[in-house]
Amino acid sequence: MKTIILKVASNYLLPLLLLFSVFILLRGHYEPGGGFVGGLIASIAFVLHAFANGLKTTQKFLKYHPGVAIPIGLGLSLFAGLLPMFAGLPFMKSLFFSQPLPVIGTISTALVFDIGVYLVVVGVTLTILFTISETVND
């Protein structure tokens, strides 16, 4: 799509949407939101960017292939699940820091797990969409 309005708007929308996705990710523990939705919003931001500026520009902008995020995210989630096992608790038991941090709130292993989910969703969605749109253009 070659419309100037979308092109300009997407440049501003990208950081805004990414920020919003992080917000959704962080509020996910007690309120609606979480890693999956946050990850979808983040990937929509990049998809919008790709719509406006073309796939090549977005890929150049990202520098790395989005697939790189998949093993990192999986590793983080697995780590968050494994952590309580070292303390002798069941797999995936949520551990909390006793002191809440400013802005973010109480850090827990559930948050680490959610960040992992976020990364996996971004990686997978972008890989799928980029692969499909690449083959369409061939």
């Binding site: 999956f36 997978v124 799928i128 692969t131 499909i132 083959t135």
Partner: protein
Amino acid sequence: MELYLAILIGVLYAAGIFLMLRRSMVKLLLGLILLGNGANMLIFLLGRITKGKPPVIPENTSIFTDVYADPVPQALILTAIVISFGLQAFAITLLKRVYVVTGTDDLDKLNVTDDEDI
């Protein structure tokens, strides 16, 4: 409400199976998607529909005293949707690949290689 949903589920299953029985691969995929949605609605319906009662405990109490909507079916549906998202993405890529290799959308044309020996 339950009746409408039941009818909707019936329509979704029927449409899904009808589309799956067509010869076109795209229709096959659409049929599978409709069937999946039908199954999700079924879980939603059978988890008992309760209106306006979120399963969130008010701040000043520690247990539920009121009727509340069961959150489990929603968790199940969400999981099922995520899984079907991945499966459908794979299926679309596979169909695309089949189309590129065979140059046809017709399922019957795929059968040529199957029975060379009997």
